[in-house]
Symmetry: C2
Subunit: 282 residues, 2 copies
């Protein structure tokens, strides 16, 4: 069993990984090789101590060089679930399972508002994982809300299974999809149904659907990690970055404002030190 | 009245200053132009995200360049006391008084152990400020514990007033002092007296003294700030870096372990944002 699994490759996850590495801990790190799309998009960073008025692109390149020099690279897998066991965690990446004694959650925040009714139908029509649940909708009618161009391959996959796909792309210039994909503008207004999702309201009309996929680069920890205590949209943590689940630490934007690089790297560092102390104690 | 006074020019104070500046807040910043002696001494920094295996000297130079580009430079004054008023703070630098609505404490930690009895005689023979209390000991016998070479001018000043000075220098190669300065090795073991300090135990002998000065680059916040709640040697803060005194925030090593640059810059950033929110609210 691995000591630590880190989920997320933004500044908080990077800071945690560098600190665990510097302390010779064994860990698995899930994230994106390109690190964080959000950093890359930052125009200028003015208040990160040590780097003067650096662009997001430059900051990202510096981080990649530093990781590469440290022999670190995140594994490109999407974590689809984290389950607290007696004294360990099972971390699911679609159909692969990993085990660790500690989990560090650094998943960021999706600033996207949820759709009215979204939370009511999780597991009853609402899904965040095409690979996990796609097969359930073979030959059926579904809707997809997608927040990023790099997730379009998941739309292709779902379109290859479903009869009709109502697509709500929230990024510029979506590509050409298969003929059964109907493009909609903006966000759906509301999800409706009784026991299961039955239809959605969008652009003034009601569209009957059997399921709806929300394809985002970062899923709320409340969805990802069963039983974790939240403060509104954020993971509840104490000063040691400990969450309500023993052995699970969280850091970066997912723990709350300010959404700042300095705050994220600081919390990643503290989470790693708390993980090391936890391992020493248990 | 100034909005904010920042005390300290290590990574936490620098981070707070950069963030207040980026948000166009007016503030006074007390610290050292050379920033932090501790950073400068660091051999290699491995886990500060964005800077790969940088030396302390290089990190310090990068910070100075960044501050200079931002038009920022700490004012070289030693803060000798912080007093909470009704809805403001009075900050004393020897005989000069400054006022602000908010104070951000980023004074670091002095890892030096206290001497047994030190806390018992504060204000009754024990002093942390040569300029404040030196004149009280004209023609008298004193002891001085000094932790850094850059404070030797304070020893000179005290030696010009006192009859005899028992000096405990805790740094290598102290300079030649005036003839009334007697050098001792190591730390004094204990301070003794009844109402006031009367003598100290050191190297197995008892030395009669009227007062003892502790000359350090960073004084414990418990001594500096009347009424502030401590957790042992550290300032008690919540997740927003708020201390027990309304309008007073603390960040960096003074709030506790891990003593890490990333943690310090993160907390400095959060303290600055909390200060901005506090100003907006009050």
């Amino acid at each position: 069993m691995t000591d630590v699994i880190i989920i997320g490759s933004g500044p908080a996850g990077i800071s945690a990984a560098l600190t665990l590495q510097a302390n010779n801990k064994n860990f698995i790190w899930f994230g994106k090789k390109e690190l964080s799309a959000k950093i890359r998009k930052a125009e200028k960073i003015h208040n990160y101590p040590g780097l003067s008025d650096v662009s997001g692109e430059d900051f990202c390149n510096m981080l990649r060089q530093q990781l590469s020099a440290a022999g670190l690279s995140p594994i490109e897998k999407t974590v689809t679930g984290v389950y607290a066991m007696d004294d360990s965690f099972s971390v699911l990446c679609n159909d692969e399972m990993f085990e660790s004694r500690i989990v560090i959650v650094a998943t960021g925040v999706e600033t996207l508002k949820t759709v009215e009714g979204e939370a009511d139908f999780i597991g009853r029509g609402v899904s965040y994982c095409a690979t996990c649940d796609g097969l359930l909708y073979r030959g059926k009618d579904i809707a997809i809300l997608c927040t990023a161009k790099d997730l379009e391959h998941e739309i292709d996959y779902l379109a290859s299974l479903a009869r009709t796909v109502h697509l709500f792309p929230l990024y510029p210039a979506p590509k050409q999809f298969a003929g059964n994909v109907i493009l909609h503008k903006g966000m759906p207004e509301r999800l409706l149904g009784s026991l299961r999702l039955e239809k959605l309201k969008a652009g003034g009309q009601e569209i009957p659907v059997d399921g709806m996929f929300f394809l985002k680069n970062s899923v709320s920890p409340s969805v990802l990690i069963g039983g974790i205590q939240m403060d509104g949209a954020h993971v509840h943590v104490d000063r040691s970055q400990a969450t309500s689940l023993s052995g699970c630490f969280a850091c970066g934007d997912c723990t709350g404002r300010p959404y700042q690089y300095a705050k994220a790297v600081g919390e990643g560092n503290v989470a790693a030190h708390s993980a090391i102390a936890f391992l020493a104690k248990h």
